[in-house]
């Protein structure tokens, strides 16, 4: 009996305490039946007062960002919001969020490779030498043909849309710049305007810095395992003009990744990520990893022999790398898993595919030269069947044939590649012969009816 009274008293005490415990756990918001709990983080670990305040305030204001950050290695290494986002008051990108108004702390939402180089100088130095930095932004910013495509044609100036208006810029902002990057423009409050931010890997920032690391190591977790998976590359390297992820998936390498890649170890330290952690390479293994005797590199051009992107394939040189050296390095990659016979066959095959494609291209160039000399080319290439087909010859079919061969994707090398290369070439030949014979340009372009998809 006595025991019953004691337990009833204890139970009563607990029931009194329960509401207090509930209150102490934090605020609970009720939104149409869904209970959302706002989490507040209190950190006491190696941060300055200002840095702690950023974390504590943002755990309420932008909890998703803080979740990603605390689950990544930045959080473990006590690299906080403050370390990457605080800039000098003098910086052209300096602004203040509501929480900072009245203080002497200035931040920027834009974080370029220059910030990352504070802790990862070697990686950024290598990255800046690659096609992922300055060269990536060139089409959007420096090449007039690309600008005509973006603004005049895609941007609807041909329909009468106002130059520089929101809809006129939409195609560039939603498409081109998301991979290539563009130059960030700032408003009066030093915040980005005109849809110039965020952007792709070659973004150019107002402080003169170039490059966005968070394209591959997405913010705010900055996961190395994420960047080592082919999906990291696939947000740009896909589609009709350079279907690298599709080529990879149909290759034996990709087949193995899709079959049991989830069991692979993507977390090994740089330079130690070796066969055994994986049993087939991802993009990062061949193009970047410190496999075998090679060192890790963030210069993705370093192991390339040919330029497989441009109208005519040439051995890489100058700012695009060193093709001879690149070939030697890539062979060292292959050596970790393949015999030299296998490697040599594969590399010879690529050389032959490049020569075959170049032969088509050189013939096309010679036909175009003739037509130009006789005044048989339209001024607007997008209304001229011959010129439009010539674009598809290199930009779509020709790239697929070459890159499909380089990465062992037979369907892309053949059906989307060389099969269409010869078809496009034959159509160009017919147009050429017709124009030479009649001395006239045909009235209509029929390209989009027969153009390769």
């Amino acid at each position: 009996m006595k025991r019953n009274v004691v337990s009833a008293l204890i139970a009563g005490l607990f029931s009194l305490l329960l509401p207090a415990v509930g209150l102490a756990q934090g605020q609970t918001q009720k939104t149409e039946g869904i209970e959302l709990e706002t989490q507040t983080l209190l950190v006491h670990r190696g941060y300055t007062e200002a840095a702690k305040q950023c974390i504590e305030c943002h755990s309420k204001e932008t909890p998703g960002i803080i979740e990603n950050w605390k689950n990544g290695k930045m959080g473990h290494a006590t690299v906080s919001c403050y370390d990457c986002h605080v800039v000098e008051k003098d910086s052209p990108m300096a602004s203040q969020c509501e929480g900072l108004k009245g203080t002497d702390i200035y931040t920027s939402p834009m974080v370029s490779s220059k910030t990352c180089s504070k802790c990862h100088p070697r990686e950024v130095e290598q990255f800046l030498k690659s096609g992922h930095a300055h060269l990536a932004g060139r089409p959007v910013l420096d090449i007039p043909k690309f600008q005509t495509l973006m603004y005049t044609n895609e941007g609807g100036m041909i329909l009468g849309l106002e130059k520089g208006s929101g809809p006129n810029m939409a195609s560039r902002a939603a498409g081109c710049q998301m991979c290539h990057g563009t130059k960030v423009e700032l408003g009066a409050d030093n915040k980005p305007i005109n849809n110039t931010w965020p952007g792709g890997v070659g973004t150019r920032y107002p402080d003169g810095s170039i490059g966005t690391c968070t394209v591959c190591h997405t913010r705010h977790q900055f996961s190395v395992s994420e960047a080592r998976k082919p999906e990291a590359c696939a947000s740009c390297h896909l589609g009709p003009d350079h279907p690298n992820i599709e080529i990879y998936h149909e290759s034996k390498h990709g087949q193995m990744y899709l079959a049991h890649g989830e069991k692979w170890n993507f977390e090994a330290a740089p330079d130690t990520w070796e066969p055994g952690d994986y049993d087939a390479p991802t993009c990062a293994v061949c193009h970047m990893a410190g496999i075998g005797e090679l060192s890790t590199t963030h210069n993705v051009n370093e192991r390339l022999k040919w330029d497989l992107m441009h109208p005519r394939s040439e051995l890489r040189k100058n700012e695009r790398g060193d093709g001879e050296k690149g070939d030697k390095l890539m062979r060292k990659v292959c050596k970790s898993c393949h015999s030299s016979m296998h490697t040599n066959n594969q590399r010879d095959l690529l050389d032959n595919a490049v020569s075959l494609y170049n032969a088509y291209w050189d013939k096309a160039v010679s036909m175009k030269k003739d037509l130009k000399a006789k005044g048989l080319l339209k001024k607007d290439p997008w209304k001229d069947g011959f010129q439009e087909l010539m674009y598809y010859l290199w930009h779509h079919t020709g790239r697929r044939a070459r890159q499909g061969t380089a990465m062992n994707g037979p369907d892309y090398s053949h059906w989307h590649g060389f099969f269409q290369v010869f078809q496009v070439y034959k159509d160009m030949e017919d147009i050429y012969n017709h124009r030479i014979k009649t001395g006239k340009i045909e009235d209509l372009s029929t390209v989009m009816n027969s153009g390769p998809l």
Partner: protein, 183 residues
């Protein structure tokens, strides 16, 4: 030879000697420890009018004394090389002369100071930084700093101290320049 030509001939023989003597004396005085000390202070540097905003920005920064310990690095501590004595004195003579000439010839209000910041590598020396900052991975340094400095110490980087620490030594320098020249 006419006798009254003798003194002038003698004079001709002496003049070059006197000139060389005066020049050497000037060099010796300027290169003396006393003159080096006198011209090594911020108060001397700021006698060139254009240096004022830079001095203000320096005073507000930890290198200018705005630190808990009150340690101050003088202009020359960072802006002259601290390798050997000959390098130091010759850089000092060259820099000093150039600065005086530029001070008299440039239009400071329209001079591209901000562009000049990009060349900071040329007038801020690593051996100067390293004279004070001998241990680049001290106890208590954050992992990020250790990672970055390790690459530097291994010599695998084409980086100077000021490539990463671009605002070191002067606080809000661009603002100070703009305020001073009324822009």
């Amino acid at each position: 030879m006419h006798p009254h030509n003798k003194p002038s001939l003698k004079g001709k023989r002496w003049w070059p000697g006197i000139l060389v003597g005066v020049f050497l004396t000037a060099v010796c005085v300027l290169a003396s420890g006393f003159m080096i000390e006198v011209t090594n202070t911020d108060s001397f540097c700021v006698t060139c009018h254009v240096m004022q905003p830079f001095r203000t920005a320096w005073t507000n920064a930890p290198h200018g004394g705005a630190n808990e310990k009150g340690v101050v690095a003088q202009c020359v501590d960072c802006h002259l090389p601290h390798g050997d004595f000959v390098e130091y004195v010759s850089a000092k003579a060259y820099t000093g002369t150039r600065d005086i000439l530029l001070n008299m010839t440039i239009d400071p209000e329209n001079y591209a100071w901000i562009e000049r910041l990009r060349s900071r590598r040329e007038f801020t020396y690593d051996n100067a930084c390293r004279r004070c900052h001998q241990n680049l991975t001290p106890t208590g340094m954050k992992t990020s700093g250790i990672l970055a400095h390790r690459q530097y110490l291994l010599g695998t980087l084409d980086k100077h101290c000021v490539d990463c620490h671009e605002h070191v030594g002067h606080k809000n320098m661009i603002t100070e320049i703009k305020t001073f020249y009324g822009k």
